[in-house]
Amino acid sequence: MELINIEGTPKTPTVNMNPETGVVGIKGRSIPENSVEFYKPIVDWLEEYSKSPQPKTVVNMQLEYFNTSSSKCILDVFKKFEQLKKDNNEVVINWYYEEDDEDMLEAGEDYESIIKVPFKMIQIVD
């Protein structure tokens, strides 16, 4: 499987996905007009990765902010990790949020309660 390295833009996040290490990182803002188009390769990659995953997958989500059209796509991404976990793989989800950014903390809690995989909430302090 290939590495995925997508560089961030003012409207889309930086994405790094490594099938050898099992580390997935999404960082930055996600506000594209067409989120489905942006997230499709990511979801497809995860689908493929799930066929022979690493024993431990680490997900680092460090979003600055995202629009509601991304929110559904991000849920689709998390559902892939939920399935990995259901298939008895170890999955660690780190949800980063800036100090006092209660919106981003809440967003993490929303996803956590939907997919029912515990998130590690990590506050970024300047």
Binding site: P10, I31, E33, N67, T68, D100, D101, D103, D110
Partner: protein
């Protein structure tokens, strides 16, 4: 016709306006507006988390315009592009005010009205549950968030959504939508 738009624009264009725009709403206009507002806020004492909230609500509001305009045919032929919209961003005593305006077919008016009234009737806890429900259960169109945008705006701003429909003709209304973002964090209103 353009008198009609001018008078709608005039109504929205009040107070200490930072940006007032009338024209085609496309991805570039949204990006430019966002970076303009970001530049404006550099060096201000507004908390980072509030700035992000403002950007978030702004993007949501403008992308709503981008995705949901019904332009009366005779206006397309005249001066305006089919993705015509109006928006203003201004300072208020408590923070910022974002107001958008677009044409909608008037058979959609009751539904939009009902949606906003429902959102406004919910407490912050109910909004959170409603958001999660829609996120997890509703099919999203290619266009956008299946109504999640308005819920998100209400949730983030902690303020009631304001709206107004102005009749344009027998088929179309002009939909004016306004949201306020407080720069001081207050406890959630329920």
């Amino acid at each position: 016709m353009s008198q009609f738009i001018d008078s709608c624009f005039e109504q929205m264009n009040q107070g200490e306006v930072i940006v007032a725009y009338k024209g085609e709403i496309n991805a570039e206009v949204i990006a430019d507006t966002l970076s303009l507002i970001e530049d404006k806020l550099v060096g201000t004492d507004i908390k980072n988390s509030i700035k992000k909230r403002l950007y978030n609500v702004l993007v949501e509001g403008l992308q709503n315009l981008y995705h949901h305009v019904d332009m009366p045919k005779e206006l397309i032929k005249a001066d305006w592009n089919s993705n015509f919209g109006i928006f203003t961003i201004s300072y208020t005593e408590d923070g910022f005010r974002i107001s958008t305006g677009n044409f909608v077919k008037n058979d959609k008016t009751p539904k939009i009205q009902e949606k906003i009234d429902n959102i406004n009737s919910l407490s912050s806890e109910e909004l959170k549950e409603f958001y999660k429900f829609v996120l997890n259960n509703q099919k999203f169109s290619k266009k956008g968030g299946g109504g999640l945008g308005l819920i998100d705006i209400a949730r983030k701003t902690r303020n009631k959504l304001e709206y107004n429909f102005i009749k344009y003709n027998s088929e179309y209304d002009f939909f004016n939508f306004t949201t306020n973002i407080n720069t001081e964090v207050t406890t959630s209103k329920t």
